[in-house]
Amino acid sequence: MLNKYPLWKYLLVLTVLALGFFYAAPNLYKPDPALQITGENSSQVIDAVMLARAEKALDEAGIEYFGEEIDADGRNALIRLRDAEVQLQAQSRVARALGDGFIIALNLAPTTPDWLSDFGAQPVKLGLDLRGGVHFKLEVDVESAIDRRMEYYFNATKRALREARIRGYVNMDDQGRVETKFKSEALREQARDLIAENHPELMLDRVDEADSWNLYAAMTDATRSEIAEYAVSQNLTTLRNRVNELGVSEPLVQRQGQNRIVVELAGIQDTAEAKRILGKVANLEFRMVAKLEAAPSEKQRFEYRSPDRAGMSESLERDLILTGERVSNAQASFDQNGRPNVQISLDSEGGMLMSRATRDNVGRRMGVLFIERKFRTRYEKQEDGTEVVIKVPYDEKKLLTAPVIQSALGAQFQITGLDSPMESSELALMLRAGALAAPISFVEERTVGPSLGAENIRLGVKSVQIGLALVVIFMVLYYRVFGIAAVVALSCNLVLMLAFMSLIGATLTLPGIAGIVLTVGMAVDANVLIFSRIREELGNGLSPQMAIHSGFERAVSTILDANITTLIVAVILYAVGTGPIKGFAVTLSVGIVTSMFTAIVGTRALINLIYGGRRVQSLSIGGGH
C-alpha cells in the first residue's frame, strides 16, 4: 500500500522527538541567581558554621535565599537567591561576613530537576554576549622563550669549551644561531663532538672561511616547536591557577591555535582587576637563609607554605639572589639512586647570579619563596553614608623549601632530599607557577555588560518568534494541510536543535541565535521542494497517492545535495572561524542535520498519517489542486 510507513518508522520518529523534548526540557527551568562560596586555597573546607554566618548576614540585610547546600567534599557552598537584583548586594554582605580567604562568586545555579539531570540533560550554555562577562585573548610570546633557550645554549657552549680548553671564539649571530670560530679544523672537530654530546638536539653546520673553521649550532624545527608548545602549556596552567583567584564560576581557559589563549569570565565587570591578576609576573624569590649571628635588620622570618610544616619558619636574608623571571624550567625527576628531586634551569643571567651567590656559600641553606598577591578587604563609610569596599592588595610570601647548597650552582641545579615523588612534583609545579615560561600580552578583549546580555537574549528570542510566526502564516496559507505538516515539522526542528545543542554542550551566542533564525527560513526549503514536486506531479496527472510518493522520492536527492554543500560551508566556518563565527557555524550545522530529519522523515510521517493508505480524491496543498 502506498504512503504507509512501517510501524518502526513511526516509532523512530516518536523516539527521536521524545528524546528531543526530554533533552530540550532543562531549558524551560529558569536558573536561580546564586552565590558560590569557595576557599581561596584548596585546603580550605567550608563547613556548616561558615554557611550559617553567611546566612545570618543575608538575614540581617533582608535578602531572601533558599536551597543552601555544601557539596560532598566541602569545597563549595551554594546559596540560591530569590531575586537577581540583590545578587551583588548579597555578594558583598557575605564577603564581609566571612572575611578574607574566601571567594564569593556570582553564579546562576541550574534548577534542572533530578529526573532530567540524572540522564545528563542540562540547559544549553549561554555565551558571554548573552549573559555578560569578559572575553580575553592573550598571546604567548613564543619567540622570547626560544631566544631565552638559545641564550642558554650560547652560555653552555662557552663554558663547555672553556672547561675542555678548546680555544675559539663564541658568538650569537644575527640569525639566532651560536657561532663558533676556530683556528684549526682539528679544534673544530673536538668542539663539534663536545657540543653534539652535550646537546644532541642541536643542528650543527660546518662552514670554512679563509683562515677560520666555523661551526654553527641551530635549533631544529622540532626543538623550536617543542619549546613553543611548552611555553604555551606552561602559561595555560599558570593562567588556570590565577583565574581561580578571580572567583568566577565556570571560568574558561582554552588554548586557541598556535600561541593564543582565550580566557572567558562570566559575570566579571572589573576588567582592570582581572587583567592585573592574569598578567602578573615574577613571584618567586631565591634568598640565602640568614646566618644565626646576622643582625635583625638584615633578616626576615617566613613561614612554610606547605600545610605539613604549618607553624614552622625560617629567617632569610633581606637581599635576594634572583626572582622567578629567571627560572626557565623546573621538573620533577629522580637522581641515580632513585630518590626524588627537582631539576631547575635558569636563564643565563640567572645562572651567573646563582653561581656568584653560591660559590662562597657551599654548606649554607638557600630559601625559595613563593609570592602570591592577595587582598585585604576594608569597608569605609563615606560622608553621604554609603559604604565603599576598599581592596588593599598585599603580597603574601611563604617559604617553599630551604635546601642545603652542596656545591657551587650554575644555570642548572637540583633540589634533592625530598621525601616523596609527590613532594617533588608539587614543588616543581609551584616553581613553574611562579614563573611565566614566556611573556603574554592581551591582543583582544570584549566585555559585555549584563544589561546588554539580557537585552540580546530578549531581542534574539523575539526575532525567532516573529520570524517563525511569519513563516507559519505563509506556509499554512500557501500549502494548506501540507503547510500545517511542514510547520509542525519546523517546530519540532527547533526543539531538536535546542536539545542537540544542550546535549553536546555547545554554547549559544547571539550569532548562534541568528543561525537559528536563518535555519527556520531555510529548513522549510526542504518542504517547499517536496511540496512543489507534489504539485507538479499532480499537474502531470498523477493520482494524489502517487504524487505524494514520487514527490518525496524525487525531491530527496536534491535536498541531500543542497544541504550537503551548505554543510560543507558550515564546517569550514567552524574550522577556520573564531568566536562569533564558530557560534553561528555550530547552530547552522546542527540546524541542517536536524532539519533534514524533520522535513523529510517527520513531514512524511505526518502526511502518511493524514493521507496514507486510503483512497484520496484530492490533496489540500494549495495552488489550485
Partner: protein, 304 residues
Amino acid sequence: MKTLDFMGQRKIAILFSVILLAVSIGSLATKQLNWGLDFTGGTLVEVNYSETADLNAVRGTLETEGFAGAIVVSFGTDRDVLIRLPKGYSDQQGAQLLDTLQQAYEGTVELRRIEFVGPQVGDELREQGGLAMLLALGLVMIYIAFRFQFKFAVGAVVALIHDVLVVLGFFSVTGMEFDLTVLAALLAVIGYSLNDTIVVSDRIRENFRKLRKVDPVEVINISLSETLGRTLVTSLTTMLVLVALALFGGEMINAFAIALLVGVFIGTYSSIYVAANALLLMGVNKEDLMIPVKEGAEQEEIIP
C-alpha cells in the same frame, strides 16, 4: 506548466550583472570597505546614559581628557552611545574612558560593552576570512564536479563569486561597517546561494536526460520555470525571517541581517541567471550529462 522564456533575456541579464559587478569592484577598489573593529584593531566602548546623551558634550569631554580621535555616535537609542578609539590606544584605555565619562556626567553611565582588538588579530582575521572563503568555494566546486559535472561546478562557483562580490560591493557603496558577523553572513550567503543553484542545476540535469530532442536554451527555460515556484517561496520565507531579524534583532545583529538579505536577494537572481547563463556560455549539452556507461567515461568528462 507554462514555460517562461528566461534565457530570452539573458543578454540583458549579462549586462545587468556586468554593471553590478563593475560598480562593486570599482567601489571596492576606490572606496574599499569600512572595516569594523574586528579587522582594524582598536577599542570600542558602548555605554548607556540614564538620560538622553549629549553627544557634543561627550566629544568635548573625551577631547579634553586626552582621547583624541575618538569617534562618538549614538547607537540605536538616543541614550546609547558608541565610542570608537583608533588603533594605538592600549588595552587599558577602555576602562579609563568609562571612568572619565562617568566623572563628567551627573546621572549614571552604564557599561554595555568594551571591545579591544589588537592590530595583529585584525590582520590575521582578514587573512583567515579570505582563506575560509576560498576554501569554501574550492571544496564546493569539487563536490559539485563530483556529483554533477565540471561545467555545473564552474557555473555554481561563478554564481557564488558574483554574489559575494555584489554583497561586498553593497557594503562598500553604502559604507556600512564590515565586521565579523558580516563575514559570517557572507559565508552563509555562499551556503544559501549554493543551495539555490544546486536545486536549479539538479532540475537542468534531470531535464537534459529526459527531454532528448529539445535544445539546451529551451531545456534550461523549462527547468527554470519548473523550479521558479520553489525558488521564490524559499527566498520569501528566508527573507521573512531576515526582515524580522533586521527589525527586531537589535543593533548588534543588524548588519548581519542586512548582509544576508542582500545576499539572499542576489543569490536568488544569480541561481536563475548567472549559473544558467554560465552553463550556456560553456556550451552545456546533453552529452555532458549522459549517465556514464563505464567508470572511465565519466573520468574524461570531469577533466575539462
